[in-house]
């Protein structure tokens, strides 16, 4: 069976033109997806997780019961992950957090969290990826390597496609890449600007200063002022420019200040011509996790419900900080692998806590979790909404059956049980 226009549940590009061939209940072929997307579809049945308690295989029902026991008894639970599941499940996770007075954080806190912090401070002029395709004549990738992290980004949205007002496609666009090292993405660029690690802020500061008419000489952040001047000229000559920002800004020294500087530059450029900023979001629904958190709590991540209402404090209720300070007594992980993704110090404390892991696949987290609840993979075995990196919501599809329930169902059952017990008490 040929399934067309399948949405790839891997990265924030959320490509929705993938063709998948299904035979005998398994995926036999994939077209149009990038190499990572192909791997995701074709190897989807490999290394799956099994329901277990303390490493002992068990039934889904028992695993859920054990999870309920932990969540009911503990005083301060961390709910973490969310970026690789559907809106429907994310909603339930928030309802649970509200119900049990937990802290809830999503993977964005170690991804584009600083971008949210910067938006609090400055706002953001942004656009959907179709605007980039149709209008952008200058695109700047700053601290981002799409050819490895978002492989079809150039092809589908930002560089190659012929748009309504950029009729020549690649030839109608200038590509600038700013990074601390050459990457496959920078090799495709018209201009590559190599910044000294940790000095993006200074470079952005210099660009803004020159935009305001300030004079500089010498070099800033390892870049000649001459080079920056010509970059600024390119930016000013653009009809519609877009800066894509990546982890190169959010994870390096300066963090949200770096992003704030990039956003401010774009805002200030709008007094001359049109510029937007788009964050290169990693997981396919990390954008969505932020959206649900925002509409239910007002905040995009790092929310605590201990006092019965949402409080926001990145650096306090964010997962890495809660673990580093060891301020929680249990962790519920949904569709994420903090044991593999967190810095060592945070992982060490995480390992000393009871972990409940809800995940279709085996991961380092499921290997050490007290309770493992396998679920159907969203976008392959269950449908749901996901938000692309630019906030466009797309319905991901179900193409195979699973013997396991969805994340949404598991969370719903946990909530029902906890509520039921509340009534009895």
């Amino acid at each position: 069976m040929k399934v067309e226009n399948v949405v790839c549940p891997f990265c924030g590009c959320l490509c929705d033109d993938v063709i998948v061939y299904v035979e005998d209940g398994a995926i036999k072929g994939v077209e149009k997806a990038c190499s990572i997307g192909r791997s995701l579809f074709l190897k989807h049945r490999e290394d799956l997780s099994l329901p277990s308690i303390d490493g002992r295989e068990t039934s889904i029902d028992e695993a859920i019961n054990e999870a309920v026991n932990i969540l009911r008894d503990k005083k301060h639970v961390l709910i973490y992950g969310l970026s690789s599941t559907s809106i429907e499940a994310q909603r339930k996770a928030l309802e649970l957090a509200d119900l049990i007075g937990a802290s809830i954080d999503q993977t964005t806190s170690i991804c584009h969290g600083p971008t949210s912090l910067a938006i609090h401070q400055t706002g953001i002029p942004t656009c959907t990826l179709g605007e980039v395709k149709n209008r952008a004549d200058v695109v700047v990738f700053w601290g981002s390597n799409p050819l490895e992290a978002h492989q079809r980004h150039y092809e589908r949205y930002s560089l190659i496609p012929k748009g309504m007002f950029v009729t020549e496609g690649r030839r109608g666009r200038k590509l600038v890449v700013v990074d601390v090292r050459p990457t496959p993405s920078s090799r495709a660029a018209d201009i590559f600007i190599q910044v000294r690690p940790g000095e993006d802020y200074e470079v952005l500061n210099a660009l803004r200063y020159m935009l305001k008419g300030g004079k500089l000489d010498g070099e800033v952040g390892g870049v000649k002022v001459e080079t920056l001047k010509s970059l600024l000229d390119i930016m000013l000559s653009a009809k519609y420019g877009v800066i894509f920002i990546g982890m190169g800004l959010t994870m390096t020294r300066g963090k949200y200040h770096n992003v704030e500087a990039a956003l401010s530059l774009a805002i200030e450029l709008n007094s001359h011509t049109r510029w937007s900023v788009v964050a290169m979001r990693g997981h396919y629904n990390v954008s969505g996790a932020g959206m649900v958190l925002l509409w239910q709590t007002g905040f995009p991540m790092a929310v605590n419900f201990s006092l019965g209402y949402p409080r926001y404090s990145p650096g306090e209720y964010s997962a890495v900080d809660l673990l580093r300070r060891k301020e929680v007594d249990a962790v519920l992980v949904i569709a994420s692998d903090p044991v593999a993704n967190f810095p060592r110090e945070a992982v060490r404390n995480l390992l000393s806590l009871p972990i409940i892991a809800i995940d279709p696949k085996r991961s380092l987290t499921t290997m050490v979790a007290k309770v493992v609840i396998p679920t159907a993979k969203v976008g392959i075995e269950t449908e749901g909404t996901a938000y692309r990196m630019d906030g466009v919501p797309i319905r991901v599809k179900k193409i195979l059956n699973s013997i396991y329930p969805s994340d949404e169902e598991v969370l719903d059952r946990i909530i029902a049980k906890i509520k039921g017990e509340e009534r009895n008490a």
Binding site: A149, P197, R324, F342, R348
Partner: protein, 128 residues
């Protein structure tokens, strides 16, 4: 001792092997890895594909060294459990730990590249 700057990031192979499973050999081969500048490798006496011991203020790990297109003094590792043995959990009040731009020291090693079990052992063993 020479100081390097550790940058972590995505690679295609990391993304592909992720779907084989994080406990698999293929994943270790692509993620338990550090890319270095060729001249730096020569200076340190490190042979392409050999094991190196990496140390930062926050931890240590043994991975495979591979030549990469990098400026001198820079080391690049794919995101994953190996790189995270070396990163700092200090978020400076932002929620975002220091995952790029970390001071790194590199030593040739005869030990095999750590597997995920050894990585977890190391996580547990070190106090501080």
């Amino acid at each position: 001792m020479r100081e390097f700057c550790l940058i972590t990031g995505r690679t295609i192979k990391q993304g592909i092997t992720l779907h084989d499973g994080k406990t698999t050999e293929v994943y270790r081969n692509e993620v338990g890895i550090v890319y270095l500048n060729g001249e730096d490798m020569e200076e340190l006496g490190i042979i392409e594909g050999s094991s190196v011991l990496l140390k930062t203020d926050y931890g240590q790990v043994v991975v495979r060294a591979v030549k990469g297109d990098l400026p001198k003094g820079m080391a690049f590792m794919p995101y994953g459990p190996w790189a995270n043995m070396l990163t700092s959990a200090n978020t400076h009040g932002t929620g975002m730990p220091d995952l790029k731009g970390i001071k790194l020291y590199i030593y040739p090693a005869c030990e095999e590249v750590w597997d995920w079990k050894r990585v977890l052992e190391e996580v547990k063993s070190v106090e501080g």
